[in-house]
């Protein structure tokens, strides 16, 4: 019988939640790495028991952990993220030049084909890769070396590379997103990059349609339609049908189009989920009602999903990497909140129940569907 394993990163440790395919009874393991910030935990699609975790601390810096047994035991890997060459400067919040400095790993993206290959998105924004299971890391410096690099600026959460998407149909195509530089695509396995922000409009930057400078919060893709991308921008939900070459807004009837998380149904490439958040200064749901919005039409037409979610006095946030889906039939949808709840739906969002209610603030949620 299939199993589901939910990997949760929080402000004070990692948790592993497991259930059978019914998804109504859950075992909770953790905290792993208690007291440390766990920005992201993700398993290899090739070897699901190979899991990588980003562990960091203001005191002790960055640690990369790896498990080979599905999260039961862990081993510290390499934590040296050295920028390639002279790092140079990007722009600081006030527009002055600021040296590139490594702060932490936001996102780990294991290869689709090799359990020893993994990518890391870091702050200050850069993309690294390891080909030896996380022991050694090398920068793919063509991204930071893109001519726009000196003009990138941090978002409120720092200048982070938070999204990495590997194209299952083209091993050389990689998408990444940076707050707040925007989205970029490589078609040569990370050697060179082009900004893919045409169609984005951001009123908070001097040129609202600039080539770079957009605060992209997250991007999602369905593996069966790798040229179709969905984006939650700072404001606006967007879609691209041409691998990011151009974007159209699909916020439609959303009550607010600010938010962080976005994901795609495992079996329906035009069914997408977002969690609308009131505004960039009020990081909580509208009217104290926690609502996931689902579109079955690839955007524009959205329906609120509320069954089982708190509909009064709820003022949590759902961060960019804190939503994921399983691939069971029917599709399970999961998200974590800054209030420490992890909610799960085993019916594609029609109804929800908390798996856990009282974890530390949730930073990331990933899901593995196991045989």
């Amino acid at each position: 019988m299939s199993k589901v394993r939910v990997l949760v990163g929080t402000r004070k440790g990692a948790f592993v939640l497991t259930s059978d395919a019914k998804r109504d009874k859950w075992e909770v393991s953790g905290p792993h790495f208690a007291g440390w910030e766990i920005y992201h935990v993700k398993g290899s699609p090739v070897d699901p028991n190979r899991i990588y975790a980003s562990q960091s601390s203001g005191w002790f810096g960055q640690v990369i952990q790896r498990s080979n047994d599905g999260g039961k035991t862990w081993e510290a890997m390499g934590n040296k993220f050295a920028y390639d060459g002279v790092p140079g400067t990007h722009q600081w919040y006030d527009g002055t030049p600021h040296p590139w400095e490594f702060k932490r790993v936001w996102h780990l993206e294991p290869s689709l084909t090799d359990p020893d290959a993994v990518y890391a998105g870091i702050e200050d924004a850069a993309l690294f890769q390891s080909s030896d299971g996380g022991r050694n890391w090398q920068e793919l410096s063509g991204l930071r070396g893109h001519g726009s690099g000196p003009h990138w600026q941090p978002g409120a959460g720092g200048m982070c590379l938070h999204t990495i998407i590997l194209d299952p149909s083209d091993a050389k195509r990689i998408y990444i997103a940076i707050s707040s530089a925007g989205a970029f695509r490589s078609d040569d396995a990370g050697k060179t990059w082009k900004p893919i922000n045409q169609g984005l409009r951001s009123e908070h930057i001097p040129d609202p349609t600039a080539e770079v400078g957009h605060c992209v919060h997250h991007i999602a893709m369905h593996p069966s339609k790798p040229d179709v991308l969905f984006m939650q921008k700072h404001w606006d939900v967007m879609r691209s049908d041409n691998a990011g070459d151009s974007w159209q807004e699909v916020s439609g009837n959303l009550p607010t189009d600010f938010g962080f998380a976005i994901d795609v149904h495992a079996h329906e490439p035009e069914t997408i989920y977002v969690v609308p958040i009131k505004s960039d200064s009020e990081h909580y749901p509208l009217e104290g009602k926690l609502r996931v919005y689902r579109s079955r039409t690839g955007g524009n037409e959205w329906e609120p999903l509320t069954k089982g979610l708190p509909q009064n006095d709820c003022y949590v946030n759902v961060l960019r990497d804190a939503m994921a889906v399983d691939s069971l039939d029917s599709c399970g949808v999961y998200f974590g909140t800054t209030g420490g709840q992890v909610y799960a739906s085993s019916d594609a969002g029609d109804s929800w129940a908390p798996i856990v209610r009282d974890l530390p603030a949730v930073l990331s949620v990933e899901v593995q569907t196991l045989p």
Binding site: W59, G61, N79
Partner: protein
Amino acid sequence: MIRVLLPAHLRTLAHIEGEVQLDVDGTATLRSVLDALEARYPMLCGTIRDHDTQQRRAFLRFFACEEDLSHESPDAPLPEAVVKAAEPLIVLGAVAGG
């Protein structure tokens, strides 16, 4: 032999119980002790001092014999009591977080 006492989170990371006891060749200094510590416990590399600059991480301090050695030269000899293992070298995390 040098005794080193690490913060709890680093002991957990390196699977250490209690104090670490290290043999250091030559003059015992902060640098030589940390070199020996990182050689035995590679997972501690980068958690106490920067990989490249070797600068102490901002929220960590080095104490021994009721003295703060954090701003001493990393090549200065450690106090005699530390060298003789009468006192530990303490790596301490700053009190922070409210």
